[in-house]
């Protein structure tokens, strides 16, 4: 079946919400069987996340996530600005959120919610960190916590992190370290 064409063809598009961060569309599509259906799509500018290692400790950020109604402990991350390259965004976000700048290595890019959103997150490893702080966004309030990488990996397996990109970023950083 793998060569079967599953493409859904857009028939109509309607922008139902245009926000600061996301744009939401409700489209009508033609299915492979000739029937019609609707698709709700969230357009997002994309994001980066950085597994930043200082002396084998991950520099993590604690912040309030309004969408979840709780504080989380995550690897530093943020949205890509218009026209910004993902790697430049990673350098900027790491400086804004942790104060550190480092040597970056690309670990992978992943869609976060392919069922309803086009958001892609670019994940980097940062090493050889030096202090080079940038002023954070005006509406961002962040605390820092350093966790040994080995302990963070165990925390992933125990389900102690809230979000998928943090879990995946930690496992990719660990693999990268062990394969060097």
């Amino acid at each position: 079946m793998k060569n079967k064409n599953f493409t859904e063809v857009c028939l109509t598009q309607e922008v139902v919400f245009e926000g600061k961060v996301i744009r939401v569309q409700k489209d009508t599509v033609l299915l492979p069987n000739g029937q019609e259906s609707t698709r709700e799509v969230v357009h997002h500018p994309g994001a980066v996340a950085v597994a930043a290692l200082k002396d084998d400790e991950l520099i993590m950020v604690r912040q309030y996530r309004y969408a979840l109604g709780k504080e989380t402990l995550e690897i530093p991350a943020g949205k890509i600005d218009p026209g910004e390259e993902p790697q430049a965004c990673a350098i900027r976000e790491l400086r804004e959120e942790t104060g550190y700048q480092g040597e970056l290595k690309f670990l992978g890019r992943f869609n976060t919610s392919p069922g309803f959103a086009d958001e892609v997150i670019h994940i980097y490893l940062a090493t050889n960190l030096v202090w080079a702080p940038l002023k954070p966004d005006e509406d961002e309030f962040i605390g820092i916590k350093a966790i040994p990488l080995d302990k963070a990996v165990e925390m992933v397996y125990k389900g102690e992190f809230q979000d998928a990109k943090t879990a995946l970023g930690i496992l990719l950083a660990d693999r990268n370290k062990k394969s060097n």
Copy 2:
């Protein structure tokens, strides 16, 4: 800084889109520094994903993802129905998408996009698969591909999968297998 209170308090809520799958809100919040800001939030019913192993091969699904405009190869996954338990959803989705039923083990739950969505995905391992097909959703068209687990792990590290829950589910399934 970890005990500092970063909570954002909801001041006003506005539902800007109510769809079949998602509900989008634009809220005004009070920040920790006393300023106001807006938050765009996508509410989602939640989802499951299943790393299903048959004779050390992962049963994966190929499908068109309209939000991405392309076909992807993912672990089986789907939205939770109203009132449905995540594990019951995992059993149903695996039967609908692959035809198999198996013994389930919970591997973890993760938010997919904590910056703008409340979607949570519950990831399971399925083993001892038996053939027990259910009719797929009317607007779902899916092909099946079996990939040896070791090869799938290498594909994760090479960046050959599109989405984060597939990459994470494969790494968690592999770890589970090796720790047994």
